[in-house]
């Protein structure tokens, strides 16, 4: 399996650490109700198809990546740096 890091280029999956779905980027604001935290930490769409999730180029540039990919075919169609992601 291979992933294209925007900085380092295409690399074998073994160089990356997987965290979870992109939900982890939408941290509830201070004082938000616990239900929002349940959504943020636990509840997931978990689609069988296209999803967006978070990978860390652990053996490379240490950048966190937001990857658009398909959980059935493993095709990945877009990768962007979390630090420079579109809003």
């Amino acid at each position: 399996m291979r992933l294209t890091c925007p900085l380092c280029g295409e690399r074998d999956r073994r160089e990356f650490y997987y965290y979870g779905a992109e939900d982890y980027l939408h941290r509830p604001s201070e004082g938000a109700p616990l239900a929002e935290w349940d959504n943020y930490l636990h509840l997931r769409d978990n689609p069988a198809g296209v999803t967006k999730d978070l990978w860390y180029h652990e053996a490379g540039c240490s950048q966190w990546l937001l990857v658009t990919r398909n959980t059935v075919t493993h095709e990945s169609s877009a990768v962007e740096l979390v630090a420079e992601r579109k809003a």
Partner: protein
């Protein structure tokens, strides 16, 4: 209080086997330069005093013994020279954090093919390339320093493991060579 004696991780070890030579190199100072957001120009000014600039991803530039290696987003290692004053960047001494192994010879690419999940042949990895990847299970910075030469930076505490794994690959390749004749 007597002077403290310095020791490298591998005491300058060297090995030649089947057209490949592995030695512990002495890189001199290594300094991490990490640019603060929006401070690119300030840092460029500082680096210009060495005739250098922040390198493009996956590359390194060398001028009069001073080498600047891309190591991440808005980050580089300045190697072989003391760092100038650098406004706009976090400057951190990394000199003692890394062991540098020089690997050279016709079989160098084949040796690394046993350990690095990258195409390091000259066509795909020309001189001046700097890649952050892995040597087996260890993180490493791999520099293509010559047509048949690499320098590999690994964490100093793992130097013995890195040496052992590269040496094992050299021995297996030498044994394969022996088989052909």
């Amino acid at each position: 209080m007597p002077e403290l004696i310095a020791k490298s991780a591998l005491d300058g070890r060297s090995l030649t086997l089947g057209h490949v030579t592995l030695t512990e190199a002495e890189p001199g100072p290594i300094t991490s330069v990490a640019v603060y957001p929006g401070q690119g120009k300030a840092v460029a000014k500082g680096l210009k005093t060495l005739g250098l600039a922040m390198p493009a991803p996956n590359s390194f530039v060398e001028k009069k013994g001073a080498r600047i290696v891309w190591t991440g987003r808005e980050q580089a290692f300045l190697i072989g020279v003391a760092p100038p004053v650098l406004e706009g960047a976090a400057v951190t001494d990394q000199s003692d954090g890394w062991t540098v192994l020089a690997l050279s010879g016709a079989g160098a690419v084949d040796v690394l093919a046993r350990l690095v999940p990258l195409d390091l042949r000259l066509t795909a990895c020309p001189v001046g390339t700097a890649l952050r990847s892995q040597v087996n299970h260890m993180n490493a910075v791999i520099l293509r320093t010559g047509d048949h030469a690499f320098e590999i930076l690994v964490f100093r505490s793992m130097a013995r493991t890195a040496w052992h794994e590269i040496e094992a690959a050299m021995q297996m390749l030498a044994a394969r060579m022996g088989m052909k004749f």
